[in-house]
Amino acid sequence: MVRFLLRRLTVAILVALTVLTLSFLLTRLSGDLAISIAGPNATQEDVDLIRQAYGLNRPLAQQYLDWLLRAVQGDFGESYFFKDRVANLIAHRLPITMTLGLVGLLMALVVALPLGIIAAVREGSWVDRGVMLVALIGQAMPSFWLGLILMVVLGLNLGWLPISGTGGWEYYVMPGIVLAFSAIPSLMRLTRSGMVEALASDYIRTARAKGLSRLSILVKHGFRNAAIPVVSIAAVQLGFMLGGSIVIETVFAMHGVGYLAWESISKNDFPVVQAVILVLALIYIALTLLADLLNAVLDPRLRTA
């Protein structure tokens, strides 16, 4: 188990380093930074001054090491537009995005797992076909469009929920539903296929031969094994949701990291864009690692190999 953990951790760290390097290289490859910072009307002298001030005249390797050392300590420099430390900006907004992602995932799981299990138990019946049809429709629907529909129906017509902004729990419901909707199809499909496979397995026949209760057969023996791929996908989906928050937070005007990314992109605020991408990527890596660990808990063959 310890060996497995160490192995996964090593891989995760390697991937994280690669992401850091790539995000550094991308900003350097997109042209001379000093010129783009100085703006279109700057003279050669201004550019030289900026190059001096930001240390852009040093060798690339040294710049990289310097940047890496600071990034690892959580220092991403200062925002040009917000006139604040980038780290502060992100620390302030990340909780909103994380909450939104978790709410979305939770909603998705609450819907997808039971439906997937029911579809598998009644494989081939109208229930199964109905559930899969809903999954298909869900997958085909763009999230911003669903967001707008919800705003019109729940917000304007019925007046149940606030249309936009950041605040208490009620502000998370609609964007949560939208995020959940994008994750439900794949989670449900995977739950269903995992359950179909599990229910057809020899160990389920054994469980039935042991006279176990229906609940125990379905959940303890069936779902436990079907859950393994679902956990991996759930982690990936949460990652997508955080990435997708750029769209959703913009639609609902929630002041999370996604909204921050959108603002900085439109304001050419390089350090912020770079840091947001980096943080989201790192969270993604952490989620994958977490999924691996959960899988190891669920599947003893991984633990004891």
Binding site: R3, F4, R7, T10, V11, A305
Partner: protein
């Protein structure tokens, strides 16, 4: 005359990696195997799962290079032979007639495949030889037009045999050819193989876990345990008077349909052989009911028998 098959000091090591950063483990599947099969005879190879008998078959077929040692077929080194020349000399029949035939091709195309791979046989000659091979194994021309899924297990195994024979090879490697079949079908296939050998003068290497089947078809039998041949004798002598305790145990565990004899006590413990963890000394000693002092530390030497050889401290 050259032996049909000769192997010398054959060894095959697999490196098994269990993860990106795990140290690879060495699994010795075949460890120092030498024997010769005279033309026209049948060498039976028996042993439990994981003893290396299928790895041995794949090396002799040239499907897998040995880590050490060499294979000679009809006096020629296998690794120096052209693939097409090898196919004309030696052909396989595998266990599972369900998975070894391409489900999307008709029987006659499956049988024609080795001919087509030769590249220089005219179409008319190919058709004639396919028809010949199908008839030889007792399949009708009409069955030649079907797909494998439309045939029974026994008929599929006939297709596999026809495919093996279509190049008129001298040697056929049969790897558990009847293990997936029912007894009545097994009898049909065994009878067919015996008839083909007699009529075409074939040499067989016949691998099976079923000793009763091997006794019925083989003129000589090699018993494998954890990658080594622990005993090899002419069939009659081996079944009458086995020398190795493992051979004895295998023979004892054959359940002949004779009521009243009960289930034999084979006398082996519940330690299973693990090719990734070969015991020192005699590799059979942890399970051997007759093990004594030297077995745990010294590897037994090869002892000659009147019609074969055995590796055991008790022999000689």
């Amino acid at each position: 005359m050259n032996p049909a098959i000769e192997v010398r000091g054959l060894r095959r090591v697999f490196r098994v990696r269990q993860g990106l950063f795990a140290r690879p483990r060495e699994v010795v599947a075949v460890d120092g195997v030498s024997f010769a099969v005279p033309a026209g005879s049948v060498l039976g190879v028996v042993g439990e799962s994981g003893c290396g008998k299928s790895t041995l078959a794949r090396m002799i077929l040239g499907l897998m290079p040995p880590s050490e040692g060499e294979v000679l077929v009809d006096g020629q080194r296998l690794d120096t032979m052209d693939r097409r020349a090898r196919a004309r000399l030696i052909q396989p029949v595998f266990q599972d007639p369900f998975s070894s035939l391409n489900p999307r091709r008709r029987v006659r195309d499956i049988v024609a495949q080795p001919l087509a791979a030769q590249g220089d046989i005219p179409r008319a000659a190919m058709q004639r030889r396919v028809a010949e091979a199908l008839e030889r194994v007792g399949l009708s021309a009409e069955q030649g037009g079907r797909f494998p899924s439309q045939l029974s297990g026994g008929q599929r195994q006939r297709v596999a045999i026809a495919r093996a024979l279509v190049l008129r090879p001298r040697i056929v490697i049969c790897d558990e050819p009847t293990s997936a079949l029912d007894v009545s079908v097994q009898a049909q296939i065994l009878n067919l193989l015996a008839e083909l050998r007699r009529d075409l003068g074939l040499t067989y290497l016949f691998i099976s876990h079923n000793l009763a089947v091997v006794e019925h078809v083989a003129s000589e039998v090699a018993v494998m345990y954890l990658g080594r041949i622990v005993e090899r004798q002419e069939s009659e002598a081996l079944f009458r008077d086995p020398q190795h305790p493992y051979t004895r145990a295998l023979l004892d565990s054959v359940l002949t349909p004779e009521p009243g004899l009960g289930v034999p006590d084979v006398g082996l413990g519940d330690i299973m052989p693990d090719p990734a963890n070969v015991p020192p000394g005699c590799r059979f000693h942890p399970r051997c009911p007759k093990a004594f002092a030297p077995c745990a530390t010294q590897a037994p030497r090869l002892t000659a028998l009147p019609t074969g050889q055995v590796e055991c401290h008790l022999a000689g």
